[in-house]
Every structure is written in structure tokens, then in C-alpha cells.
């Protein structure tokens, strides 16, 4: 009915049809082996839930209430034993190389039993994503190597991402705000490295992590233009851990204070600073900073979306179990239409959320950070060649400046801005939609269960405490709404400006 050229011209118009329906275009391109791998990740999560998470979830939560200083170190060791901290490290860097989108399904699965436990695993990959997206292959190799070694020795080596400061939370997630923010982490250039001063707060897993990706600024008044990304290892002089917070939920995952007092970080651990940026690109440091933030959060916000779906599912499953076991006026609760409709809505929320994070993953896979790994030949090459090959042949290359140069160019200069906008926007959409749906399901579960849901041993009350955090971290849901508008909707609103009202 229409010529192909006409079809193309109509579908390319804003909003571009391909961008609006990623699953239609990209699902068929998925390498088959990825599906099997994802199934394996889900199966592992289910086994872990049966053997570890379910038996421990309420007990650990209770312990952290009895003693707010308690840190569930043994849980981290268990996750390490199960191989979860290297599962999604690419084989290139010595990990098991599971495809990165599969982590969402894994986190949803664990999150449906305990999203705090899912966070203890998942947030390590936020650290990994931040480290990788800084593109310094030598540093990536060193840090990932430590993680792999940690798995072998049984001494977990985790990575934290440390950007939030006492007076800057939303500000550090958006360069336009960072430029005006009250920043406190200062990095002073000295021969051979930087001297770091200041503190970071709310750092997930801070008390467990060995490596920390830390943002600091050489000029606190011009944060967006003078950002420095430093790798700080536990035990380095001048770096100490402060308290960890007494939180409402997700209590197995500590949110820590990190203090830096004249902490010297040598050049070899400087992953990014304005000079390094200048050596790769003509783009301004500010733009590259925003690009970096977008890359990291495009990955992690899809993961938080999966957490949101996890809690939505946990709430749904808890409510359904209750409805199956309870009678009203002598009839099973599940025979009433009003109960069926509520359970149906909760189930729908789970599925809708999963669609949202799947779209965000597809954007990462085809238009974002995972796009190299997703190309079929590269995917199969990485999958089927043995780790020993990478160790012998590839690993030595990673220490060469050219490797860092290529990776940096790939991410900084060789990607299309439109693709990045789409990817960050969809990640934000998944983040706020899934987490809002998660909290909504928790509320519905409590309403359905009444007093039975209020008791700690019911599990329902813990889920609603855990769920609330999801609307706050990885950018509050307000910031994520604005980011979605800015990245995807704004082209249709040419008069729109941001953070200037």
C-alpha cells in the first residue's frame, strides 16, 4: 500500500517508531545462547532463594533491628561462594561473562524474596559499571582481577560507587545541578597523584567493599567541570569508614559514610580527570561527565527497575499466599471477585514493570553501553573461547594505553548522542515506573492482609519498608522523571529548558 521509502519516511518521523518499540526490532536479533544463559541466571537465583535468601531474609532483618550495628558479613561470603560477584564480569576481565541484561532477571528473582539481599549483590555491579565506563582498561583489569581473586580465596572483593555527599545528592547525578551544588569532596593535584579530602554518605555496601569509585572535584565551586574519578582501595592511608545508617529497610545492605583525610591517590588509580578527558576528545569535561553518569545510570537504573519488579512480585506473592489460606464468611478469599481483581492488578503491575526494564535493557544492548558485547560475533567469541585464552592473549593488551584509548574513544566519541538519550531516558522510565509499581503493590498487599500483614513474620511489612528506598536512590523518582522528559520527550518541546526555572 505504501512504498518502502514512504514507510521509512513516516516511521522515522518523531517519535521514531523504532525508538518507541525496541522489543519489536531487537528481540529477534538476540543471540539464542543469551536466552539459555538468562534461564540459567534465573534458575541460580531461585536455587539461591530456596537455600539462602528465604531462610535468612527475615532472620537477618530482625538481627539488624536487635543490633543496628550488626553487619551480615556471612551473607556477603555466601553470595561470593555462589559466584555472584564475578558472574557478570566480562570474560575479557576474568569473570564468568554472563550477558549483562540477564542480571535484571536475576535481581528481580532474588528481590522478590529480599530486595536487601538483591542489593548486596546488585550494587557491586553498580560499582563495576562505574569502573568499566571510566574506560581505563588497566584499572578495570586490576580491580576485576581482585574481585576474581576474592572469589577464589573466599574473601569477597566488592566495589562501591561513591558519589553522594552530605550536601549533594541529586546534584551529583546531573551536571547542570552539580555546577551549582554545594560540593565537599576535594581533590588536589600533587606530583604523582591527588590528595583527597571530604566525605561520602549513603554508600551502599561501603562497609563490605574493597574498591571504591570516588568522585571528587579540583574546584568545589566548579564541580561539573573539574570532576576527578579516583579508585580508592580499603586500607589506603587517609581513608576510613564512618558509621552506617540506621535505615527503615533493606537493612542487610549497609549505607556507609566514607571519610577521606589527606588520602593520597596515586596516578595509576586516577581513572578520569579533565586532562585525561582532553587527551581523548574535543568534548568538554562537563559533557563527558554527563555522558559518564548517563552510561552508569542507564545500566544501574534498569537494575533498580528490576528491584522494583522484585518487590512488586514479593508483595503479590505474599498477598496471594494469604488470600489462598484465608477465608471470609466461610469462603476462601480467592473466590471473591474483589480479591481476584486486586490480585490480577498486582500481577499486571509485575508484568508491566518487567516490560519497562526489558525495554531499558534493549536500549543498553543495541544503543548503549552493552552494544559491543551484544554484536553476535563478539558475543559468541567471548562466550565460547576459554578464559585461559583471554588471560594469555588479551589480558596483556589491556595494560597498553591503546586499549584505554580505544575504549574511551568508543564510549566518548563514537556513539550517537540520540542513542544515549534514548538509553538514559528509558532507564529512567524503568527506574521510576517499576519502583512506583513496587510500592503500589506493597500497599495493595497490606490492604488485603490487614493486621496479618503488619507482623514481621508475615514478610509483607518488611517488603513495604524495603521498597521505599527504591524511589529514592539511583536518582530520586523526581530526577528520573525529569531525565526522561529531557532525554526523550524534549525534542517535541523546543522551548523546554532544564534546571533553570
Amino acid at each position: 500500500m505504501l512504498k518502502r521509502s514512504k514507510v521509512k519516511s513516516y516511521t522515522k518521523k518523531f517519535p521514531r517508531f523504532e525508538n518507541e518499540s525496541l522489543s519489536l526490532y531487537y528481540a529477534p536479533r538476540m543471540p539464542k545462547a543469551m536466552i539459555k544463559e538468562t534461564e540459567e541466571a534465573v534458575a541460580l537465583a531461585r536455587k539461591f532463594n530456596d537455600e539462602v535468601a528465604r531462610p535468612l531474609s527475615l532472620e537477618l532483618d530482625r538481627k539488624t533491628h536487635e543490633d543496628p550495628d550488626y553487619l551480615p558479613v556471612e551473607l556477603v561470603k555466601k553470595a561470593n561462594e555462589w559466584g555472584f560477584y564475578t558472574m557478570w564480569i566480562p570474560k575479557l576481565f576474568g569473570g564468568k561473562g554472563f550477558n549483562l541484561p540477564s542480571i535484571s532477571y536475576f535481581l528481580e528473582e532474588v528481590g522478590s524474596v529480599c530486595v536487601g539481599i538483591a542489593n548486596v549483590i546488585g550494587v557491586h555491579y553498580l560499582g563495576m559499571a562505574a569502573c568499566m565506563m571510566l574506560s581505563n582498561t588497566r584499572i578495570i583489569k586490576r580491580v576485576m582481577n581482585d574481585v576474581v581473586e576474592g572469589e577464589k580465596t573466599g574473601e569477597p572483593c566488592l566495589i562501591s560507587y561513591c558519589i553522594t555527599e552530605p550536601t549533594a545528592g541529586t546534584d551529583v547525578e546531573e551536571v547542570d545541578l552539580e555546577a551549582k551544588g554545594r560540593l565537599g569532596c576535594h581533590a588536589r593535584k600533587v606530583p604523582g597523584g591527588y590528595i583527597l579530602n571530604g566525605s561520602k554518605i549513603f554508600i551502599s555496601n561501603g562497609h563490605f567493599s574493597t574498591w571504591n569509585v570516588v568522585y571528587a572535584y579540583t574546584d568545589l565551586k566548579k564541580g561539573a567541570d573539574t570532576k576527578v574519578a579516583l579508585m580508592v582501595k580499603r586500607g589506603m592511608k587517609g581513608f576510613s569508614l564512618g558509621t552506617h545508617e540506621n535505615k527503615m529497610g533493606q537493612r542487610v545492605c549497609p549505607a556507609s559514610v566514607l571519610n577521606f583525610e589527606d588520602c593520597f591517590v596515586p596516578d595509576e588509580l586516577v581513572a578520569m580527570d579533565p586532562d585525561i578527558i582532553k587527551s581523548y576528545t574535543k568534548k568538554t569535561p562537563r559533557n563527558v561527565n554527563m555522558q559518564h553518569i548517563d552510561y552508569v545510570f542507564s545500566i544501574s537504573r534498569a537494575g533498580v527497575g528490576a528491584f522494583g519488579v522484585g518487590v512488586a512480585r514479593g508483595a503479590f506473592e505474599t498477598a496471594m499466599k494469604y488470600a489462598n489460606e484465608t477465608e471470609i464468611d466461610g469462603k476462601p478469599m480467592v473466590t471473591y471477585e474483589w480479591v481476584q481483581c486486586r490480585l490480577a492488578e498486582m500481577y499486571a503491575n509485575v508484568r508491566l514493570g518487567r516490560l519497562a526494564y526489558t525495554e531499558a535493557n534493549l536500549a543498553n544492548q543495541h544503543r548503549g553501553a552493552y552494544n559491543i558485547l551484544q554484536m553476535k560475533p563478539i558475543y559468541y567469541y567471548l562466550k565460547y573461547l576459554p578464559v585461559s585464552y583471554f588471560k594469555k592473549v588479551i589480558a596483556p593488551l589491556l595494560d597498553k594505553p591503546i586499549a584505554t584509548w580505544i575504549l574511551s574513544k568508543w564510549y566518548i566519541d563514537w556513539q550517537k548522542p540520540d542513542d544515549q538519550h534514548l538509553t538514559t531516558g528509558l532507564a529512567s522510565m524503568a527506574k521510576f515506573s517499576c519502583t512506583d509499581l513496587g510500592v503500589r503493590n506493597c500497599q495493595m498487599a497490606l490492604e488485603l492482609m490487614g493486621k496479618a500483614g503488619l507482623r514481621h513474620d508475615s514478610g509483607a511489612e518488611k517488603i513495604i519498608r524495603d521498597a521505599k528506598l527504591l524511589q529514592i536512590y539511583e536518582g530520586t523518582n523526581q530526577l528520573n522523571r525529569i531525565n526522561l522528559f529531557k532525554s526523550i520527550v524534549a525534542p517535541a518541546c523546543p522551548k523546554a529548558t532544564f534546571f533553570e526555572e
Binding site: 530482625r62 497490606l446 503488619l454
Partner: protein, 377 residues
């Protein structure tokens, strides 16, 4: 708002705000750690005795039983003010009033006389009650059997508010020969009563709740056999308004803390209250706060003036205000960002408390069905 409409409430308002500010506020965080933490039972009991000494445990109880004989407006005003600071204490006052309302609606004079005029302290005055239960919705209630002049009760009762503290409890139980259920007065110090450890719940931590099991415990009937449902309906009709007033107070507290914080907290080089989306959220919270107050005030009026359908108004108010509260407290945490999630601030407690309050007097969806049944007949 209640006080603006009714000047007689002023002295009570002054008293309760002073009490909340001076006696409750400094201890909210420590009390919230109960049943864990270092808070010992003596400290909790001292707090209860203070509210007893001030007369807050008998607000609607007639003076002849040593109450202060006020109406629902006074009770709601007081519950709201206390809830702004620590809703756990509202639950204590609420439970005291609810068990009294059951006794009053059963016109059980002898029971009231046995408890209140003789009480020496809060333990004896404050009658435990399963305030989260609509006994008609419960599949399992203790069994009551006639024995001599009275009855004996056997069986389990869950989620008894103040069960670990009070001497007396009003307990619903079924008599096998009857349809429906009846209420009984039970001495919780009886040897046949076994008490669980305090139940660790979502919110309202400072008001202890336990499960009990009864083994041939002697009990006195309150009112008549099989009439429990009628007494509960009468009492809960009025107490729905009281439950709503607790959540209206929580809403006010949440809004106030959110406003204070967003005025102080800066992001992007300005107080966050100056970002229009933050204002929009605050505006929505403020609208809900006003609506909640209006609902409570007008319901109290309807009850005081004995409007024809005040019972329906009361239940509708409760359902609506609870919904509003659950939304407001979620935004209340949100506006404080990460700090809102921490125990150093009040918002996370309100997030938990509001949902706990929502579950008072039985399952919310069933209350809706009761309401529509009343409306459509």
C-alpha cells in the same frame, strides 16, 4: 481546626500539645526501637502512667466512672496532636477508648464500675483490646463456656493491643450454642493466660501488642450473649472517626517536616522547596492534609449533632483519610531524599505508622463492603 470550631477544646489542646512536646517528643526514637533496644518496661509504664494521670485514658468515659466525659471532638483533637509527635501513644489512648466504648455500648455498668473507679494506675485502667480486629471477620476466636455464674474462655486470640501491660482485657469469644460472638472481661494476670513476646510490627512500636492463649480462664460477659457484633458496630462507628484523626495527625506531622526540610535543604544552588516539582508534591500533601482535617472535623460534628447517617460518614472518613495518609507519608519520605529513609528523621516512622493505623478495626476492603451494604441496603 477542631479547636477553631469549638472553643471548649482549647484547654485540652493546650494540655495535650504541652504533653506531646515535653514528654513524648524527646523519646520518640528510643521508644520506636521497642521491642528491641535498651528501653525497659518501667520506662514505657511510666509513660503510660503519665497519660493516665492526665486523664487521657478516659476522655469519652462518663464522669461517673472517673472519666472526663468529653465527646468525640475532644478525643479526635487529642489523638491528632499526639499522632503528630508519636502515633504509638495515640494507639494507646485509642485502645483505651475503644474498650470503653464496647463496655458502654453493652451498657455493662457493673463491668465499668468494677474497672475504672477502682483502678489505681494505668495498668488497671487501661483495658487491652484487639484494636486491629473486627471479631466478626475472625475465623478463630476463643470459645466461651458457661461456668457457675460466669464463663470460662479457652483458645487463642492474636494481636491484642496492650496485652502485655494491662490487667484487664475485653476479649471477643464464641459461645458454642450461640450464633455470633460475645465480649468478655478477662483478667490477664489469670494463671490460664499465656502471653507471647511483644510482636515486632510495622509501626506504632511503643504500644506493645501480643498474642495470647487462654486455657479455662474465668471471664465475665459484657452485655448479652451473642450481641458482640452489635456492640462492636456501635463502638467502631464512632471509633472510625478516632482512627481517622490519628492519621490526620500523622499527615500534619509529615507535611510539617517536609516543609521544614525542603526550606533548609539546598540542591542545584537553591532551597529544594523552590523547585516547582517539589512545590507540586508539597501542594498535593497540603491539599490532602486539609481534606483530612475537614473530614475529621465534619465527622465529629455529624456525630455530636447526631446526624442520621453519621455512622456511614465516620467509616467513609476513616477509609478516605487512611488512603490519603498512606500517600502523604510516602511523599513525606520522598521529599527528604535519603535522609527521609533514616531513623534520625521522623518521616520513615510516619510511613510505617500510617499503614499500621489504616489496619485498625479490621480489613479496609471489607469496611468498604460494609459501607456500601449500608448505603444500598
Amino acid at each position: 481546626m477542631l479547636t477553631a470550631l469549638n472553643n471548649d477544646l482549647k484547654p485540652f489542646e493546650d494540655l495535650i500539645t504541652k504533653f506531646s512536646r515535653e514528654e513524648l517528643k524527646p523519646h520518640v526514637e528510643v521508644h520506636d526501637r521497642y521491642p528491641f533496644g535498651d528501653l525497659d518496661v518501667d520506662v514505657i509504664e511510666a509513660g503510660f502512667n503519665k497519660i493516665y494521670d492526665l486523664g487521657f485514658l478516659g476522655i469519652m468515659l462518663p464522669e461517673k466512672y472517673t472519666g472526663i466525659g468529653q465527646g468525640i471532638s475532644t478525643l479526635c483533637m487529642m489523638l491528632g496532636h499526639v499522632a503528630e509527635v508519636d502515633a504509638s501513644y495515640s494507639l494507646i489512648i485509642f485502645t483505651s477508648a475503644l474498650s470503653q466504648e464496647i463496655i458502654l455500648s453493652a451498657q455493662a455498668d457493673s463491668i465499668a464500675e468494677r474497672i475504672y473507679p477502682k483502678a489505681k494506675d494505668a495498668k488497671e485502667y487501661l483495658v487491652a483490646f484487639p484494636s486491629f480486629t473486627d471479631p466478626g471477620q475472625s475465623k478463630t476466636l476463643p470459645e466461651a463456656s458457661p461456668s457457675g455464674k460466669g464463663y470460662t474462655l479457652t483458645g487463642k486470640l492474636d494481636y491484642l493491643v496492650l496485652g502485655s501491660f494491662s490487667k484487664w482485657a475485653v476479649i471477643p469469644a464464641r459461645i458454642s450454642s450461640n450464633r455470633g460472638y460475645s465480649f468478655f472481661l478477662v483478667n490477664l494476670n489469670d494463671r490460664g493466660v499465656t502471653k507471647s513476646e511483644p510482636i515486632f510490627s510495622l509501626g506504632l512500636h511503643a504500644c506493645p501488642i501480643i498474642d495470647i492463649s487462654l486455657n479455662n480462664v474465668s471471664a465475665r460477659i459484657i452485655g448479652e450473649e451473642g450481641e458482640g457484633e452489635r456492640y462492636f458496630e456501635t463502638a467502631s462507628k464512632i471509633m472510625h472517626a478516632a482512627a481517622a484523626s490519628i492519621n490526620a495527625g500523622i499527615i500534619r506531622g509529615s507535611l510539617r517536616e517536609a516543609m521544614d526540610y525542603t526550606k533548609e535543604r539546598e540542591q542545584g544552588g537553591r532551597p529544594v522547596i523552590n523547585w516547582s516539582e517539589v512545590r507540586m508534591i508539597l501542594a498535593n500533601m497540603a491539599i490532602k492534609a486539609k481534606v483530612a482535617e475537614l473530614c475529621v472535623t465534619q465527622t465529629c460534628r455529624a456525630i455530636d449533632e447526631n446526624l442520621k447517617d453519621w455512622g456511614m460518614i465516620s467509616i467513609a472518613t476513616a477509609l478516605h483519610v487512611h488512603d490519603l495518609a498512606c500517600e502523604v507519608v510516602t511523599d513525606g519520605v520522598q521529599l527528604l531524599g535519603g535522609n527521609g529513609y533514616m531513623k534520625d528523621y521522623g518521616q520513615e516512622k510516619r510511613y510505617r505508622d500510617a499503614r499500621q493505623v489504616q489496619a485498625l478495626l479490621g480489613l479496609a476492603p471489607l469496611k468498604k463492603l460494609v459501607l456500601i451494604k449500608e448505603i444500598v441496603g
